[in-house]
């Protein structure tokens, strides 16, 4: 079993001890840094295979192969009110892009609740977990392809 990436581990520790107001301030800072997927990776209409299932914020995820064998993750959030999805996308990018695929694949699904707190609603939680699912799926797909090669 591989540990999750160090950056994500540190971030989860930061959020674990944050009170509600600190948590919200931190998340808004992440959301403010959101950058949409560059045109060289994807343009609208975005293909359905990159669409996050169950995400009401209409989120999309792409994985770009980097020369060192790791992945750079890109995101789009089509709902202008999808602020949590944008914050989570930035967190996923900043803590998982460029990290060993084995570690990315081990990202725990419940990290959403460590970051957003237990007050997150079922609908929102499912959407955010869907973003993580797609990120870890891309990492696992690359690992399998590597094993087959």
């Amino acid at each position: 079993m591989t540990d999750m990436p160090e950056g994500l581990k540190t971030l989860l520790e930061d959020f674990q001890f944050a009170d509600r107001s600190e948590r919200i301030d931190m998340l808004i800072e992440y959301a403010d840094r959101f950058q949409e997927v560059p045109e060289r990776i994807a343009t609208r209409p975005f293909p359905e295979e990159h669409h996050v299932q169950k995400c009401e914020s209409e989120a999309y995820v792409w994985a770009e192969d980097l020369p060192d064998g790791t992945l750079k993750f890109h995101f789009a959030v089509e709902n202008p009110q999808g602020l949590s999805a944008k914050a989570w996308a930035v967190i996923m990018d900043e803590t998982l892009s460029g990290q060993p695929l084995e570690a990315v694949a081990e990202t725990p699904g419940d990290s959403v609740f460590t970051v957003f707190g237990k007050d997150v609603s079922m609908g929102k939680g499912m959407g955010l977990m869907g973003i993580t699912d797609l990120v870890t799926t891309y990492a696992r797909q690359r690992l399998k392809a590597r094993q087959r090669a």
Partner: protein, 287 residues
């Protein structure tokens, strides 16, 4: 969407337009209240002068599964600087889903000076109207609330059980997947977990969002709403109606639509909803 007054609602006075809100931003008798599902939305930008009422932090009791009590409601109203005469105008994300939830909780305490901004955040933003991150502060008020009345618009599980098989009409406003039992809860999220999937016997499936126009979050016209609830589902104003969802928030939206836009006098929200029913021992379940 046409003007609110032209849509044939039973109580058009409970809805206000974004134009109306824009014209009342500095009205001291109006308190604009934002209630969202997404806890990041209000602090990231809200209607100037609006205060936030959070569904979890402000409206729920922190210990029991219940809403705030009279004392808590008085403190909440004091914090937002409202008196019994203040008109509260709710708005929020998700086609006002959470705004109508807050509206419903306020009605448990009889604060009838309450309205909803048609279209909510989505319409306000789409119209390019101003948003601010400045959190306003209002002088604290002394608010004397009525006792919470849990009989008129709220219903509990045992009462629902007694009504099964009678003339009461149940409206399940969850998604079709939740209604069928295919989906129960999020994995790794036991707080809202349920042990059984399905719906309360006899309940009709009418997902809450059918009452709203997805492009701008406004409510559908009375004629469109009647086509859904009356022509399609066979409801009528004489029915005793119970709406439910998973924890009682989506069903607040349907409660609002049936009670105020269509003028049905006997609609109650079963806020225990599926997280209570689907975990209860020996209650009937239908799939």
């Amino acid at each position: 969407m046409s003007d609110i007054a032209e849509r044939g609602y039973a109580r058009p006075d409970v809805l206000v337009s974004t134009d109306w809100v824009a014209a009342h931003l500095n009205d001291p008798n109006i308190r604009i209240v934002e209630s969202n599902e997404d806890q990041l939305l209000y602090p990231s930008g809200h209607i100037p002068g609006a205060v936030q009422v959070d569904w979890a932090a402000d409206l729920n009791d922190p210990l029991r599964r219940d809403y705030l009590n009279r004392d808590g409601f008085e403190k909440l109203m004091s914090r937002i600087g409202a008196t019994r005469d203040t008109d509260i105008v709710f708005y929020g994300d998700k086609s006002n889903w959470w705004a109508t939830y807050a509206f419903w909780v306020f009605q448990l305490f009889g604060h009838t000076n309450a309205k909803v901004m048609d279209g909510g955040r989505l319409k306000w933003e789409k119209e390019g109207r101003p948003l601010t991150r400045e959190v306003p502060s209002y002088p604290a008020t002394t608010y004397v609330a009525s006792d919470r009345d849990d009989t008129r618009i709220r219903i509990f599980r045992d009462e629902v059980l007694k009504k099964l098989g009678g003339g009461t009409r149940l409206v399940d406003v969850r998604s079709p997947q939740e209604y069928s039992g295919e989906r129960t809860h999020m994995p790794e999220y036991p707080q809202e977990g349920v042990l059984r999937g399905g719906h309360i016997p006899g309940a009709k499936s009418v997902p809450w969002a059918r009452a709203a126009n997805p492009e701008d979050g406004t409510f559908k016209s009375a004629a469109e709403l009647k086509a859904i609830y009356e022509e399609e589902q066979g409801l009528n104003p004489a029915n005793d109606i119970i709406a439910y969802c998973r924890i009682g928030e989506r069903s607040s939206h349907t409660w609002f639509v049936l009670s105020y836009l269509l003028g049905y006098p006997n609609v109650r929200n079963y806020d225990g909803s599926w997280t209570e029913w689907g975990n209860s021992v020996n209650v009937p379940v239908e799939r």
